[in-house]
């Protein structure tokens, strides 16, 4: 198992290297460069060439790549063209809203997917199963922004139950539990959108993993020993269905990030996804690429974690 994780780690480092390479190539593809945005147009070209040399912009591309990579390793993702702030600080400011949104949605998604998936697998072709299947299809087919707008229209505009946007209500000063409650109310709609669009695929996988386990011999043995259904389902079938589910969770992370862009824009949620859209519109490429690289690294860590859990959950795993 240790070898498996170690080799997986090596592979991840290699992928990470390609990721940084793609990021660098995209940075050079972006229109304009650091010089054209910072520098006063009245400065003579000879002075510009000197400045370029001092910044290393006259070096061959691979030298620039190595220098840039060195900076990235030291935690320097560059600076915003618009404000001059460090990209990493900008991201750090937006990280907590995104992480809290995603953590709540992720937990909810996991619980719901397990519940619905297990019930569907245990009672195939029952009304619950059909409903779950239909909802799963709806979840992968509905555009998240349309779903979000519909929820706002129904629950915020028409019924007035929930706030439409933001982290909390700034008009009133809430403290203590009232503030917590207020923030929770703001979480409801964005979390619903993120969960519903993410849970669909997971439900189908949980269902097929569990129903596959249910056809195994040891399940028949467990049943014939007279164990209760719920016991067989949770302790026997589910335990052996964990592997595909864990892998899928690793895959779900990039989708979650993609989903968070739309959700954060619509609900005015001050997170990373919204920062990305803002910087893309401001043509602030260092920030946009920094967010891409940062998210890719998080995704890579997530899938590494998922695979390590996979190896822990199944002692038979060796590196293939």
């Amino acid at each position: 198992m240790a070898t498996f994780i170690f080799r997986r780690l090596l592979q991840s480092v290699f992928i990470l290297l390609i990721v940084t390479f793609i990021s660098f190539v995209m940075m050079t593809m972006a229109p304009g460069n650091a010089m054209s945005t910072f520098i006063d147009p009245r400065i003579p070209p000879s002075e510009l060439a000197k400045a370029e040399a001092s910044l290393g912009l006259d070096q061959p591309a691979y030298v620039q790549y190595v220098r840039w990579l060195g900076a990235v390793v030291n935690g320097n993702l560059g600076y915003s063209i618009k404000t001059g702030e460090g990209v990493l600080e900008l991201i750090a400011n937006r990280l907590i809203p995104t992480v809290s949104l995603m953590a709540v949605a992720f937990t909810l998604m996991l619980v719901l997917a397990l519940l619905i998936g297990i019930v569907s697998a245990a009672r195939p072709y029952s009304p619950v199963d059909y409903l779950a299947t239909f909802l799963a299809f709806a979840g992968i087919s509905i555009p998240s922004f349309f779903f979000a707008l519909t929820l706002i229209y129904v629950f915020a505009v028409q019924l007035g139950w929930l706030p439409t946007s933001g982290l909390e209500s700034y008009q009133q000063d809430f403290e203590g539990w009232a503030l917590v409650a207020n923030r929770m109310r703001h979480l409801v709609l964005p979390v619903t959108v993120l969960t519903f669009t993410g849970v669909a695929e997971l439900v189908r996988h949980v269902r097929s993993a569990v129903s596959e386990s249910l056809q195994q011999d040891y399940i028949r043995t467990a049943k014939s020993k007279g164990l209760k259904d719920i016991h067989v389902l949770t302790l026997h079938a589910l335990r052996n269905s964990w592997l595909p589910i864990i892998t899928l969770l690793g895959v779900a992370l990039p989708r979650f990030f993609s989903g968070s862009v739309i959700v954060e824009v619509i609900f005015a949620w001050p997170g990373m996804g919204r920062l990305l859209v803002e910087s893309v519109f401001a043509r602030d490429y260092p920030v946009a690429m920094g967010i891409n690289l940062f998210a890719a690294i998080l995704v890579l860590l997530g899938s590494l974690l998922a695979d390590s859990l996979y190896a822990l959950a199944d002692p038979r795993i060796r590196y293939l």
């Binding site: 592979q11 995209m26 509905i142 555009p143 707008l149 990039p254 859209v277 490429y285 891409n292």
Partner: protein, 298 residues
């Protein structure tokens, strides 16, 4: 070549018939197929079907102009803030959205299939590099990358198709690679080698056609995914630009709170159109998956 095509002919018909029968027994898939045919016909005959010019003020025969008008017998789905007929824009928007979905999914399928065949067939270093490259590209959250690259180029229908297509080939690549690895030791491929067939011939004539079933399913889902991506991009304002209508940019109006609150006819129809289209494609893909699965006997 002739001997191979001769030996495969007697088998082909029953398989096709079985696939067709399996597909037809999947009721939802058949209904979805019908819905999709209707949608495509609507898109093709948009100029005939649309009651007004989608890009200009909609004026009735007695010279009536209306702005932000709710649905009425004259304007079935109402008009928008600059007096354009929403139904006409919806019909023409379908043209754009469906075209972008089909074209960008095709780009992704062709690119992914070619790279997948190369990786699976040659193996070794080529496989390792291509596979890790695919891993690396799919490590970036798809929408992040698509949004960023879209901002590098001038927003146009062509660029939207290219960006989505060029950044969505990875699932097809993995599928094709796995299929080729599975097939490469099958007798008929070794037979083709023995007969002296070249690499390109084996890849294009023997490997790719035999991996077609999972690729067809992937292609269907790819179209659904591409339509969703285009609509998200256009909704955010980085995809198809005004005055051209796409289902996604029609919904962008609803980012204005007044529109969201009091003019639902502007944003509900395009949203529902995307939802129904993508749902139908996904149902059809599911039916195709069942129908094409060789392990599922009829």
């Amino acid at each position: 070549m002739t001997s191979i095509s001769l030996s495969s002919t007697p088998l082909k018909q029953p398989i096709k018939r079985r696939v067709w029968r399996n597909f037809m027994s999947h009721k939802l898939a058949v209904i979805s197929g019908g819905v999709l045919i209707l949608l495509m016909l609507t898109a093709i005959f948009a100029p005939v079907l649309a009651p007004y010019d989608p890009y200009d003020l909609a004026m009735t025969e007695d010279g009536l102009l209306e702005f932000e008008a709710p649905p009425s017998p004259v304007f079935l789905l109402g008009t928008d803030a600059i007096g354009r007929d929403v139904l006409s824009r919806l019909i023409f928007g379908g043209r754009i959205s469906l075209t972008i979905g089909l074209v960008s999914a095709s780009i992704a399928i062709v690119l992914g299939s070619l790279l997948g065949v190369l990786a699976g067939y040659f193996g070794g270093l080529a496989d390792a590099l291509l596979s890790r490259f695919a891993d690396a590209v799919s490590t970036f959250p798809a929408l992040f990358l698509i949004l960023t690259v879209s901002s590098f180029v001038r927003p146009s229908i062509f660029n939207v198709m290219a960006v989505i297509g060029l950044l969505s080939w990875m699932p097809t690549f993995r599928l094709m690679r796995a299929e080729v690895l599975r097939l490469s030791h099958v007798d008929f491929i070794e037979g083709a080698h023995a007969l002296g067939a070249g690499n390109i011939r084996i890849m294009l004539q023997h490997l790719m056609p035999n991996a077609i079933a999972p690729i067809i399913v992937q292609a269907t889902l790819g179209v659904a995914e591409a339509i969703l991506t285009e609509s998200a991009l256009s909704f955010l304002g980085l995809g198809v630009q005004q005055p051209i209508a796409s289902w996604g940019n029609m919904l962008a109006d609803a980012r204005n709170f007044t529109v969201l609150q009091s003019q639902p006819w502007l944003w509900v129809p395009p949203g529902a159109a995307i939802f129904i289209t993508v749902l139908a494609i996904n149902f059809m893909g599911d039916g195709l998956r069942d129908a094409l699965n060789p392990r599922q006997g009829s």
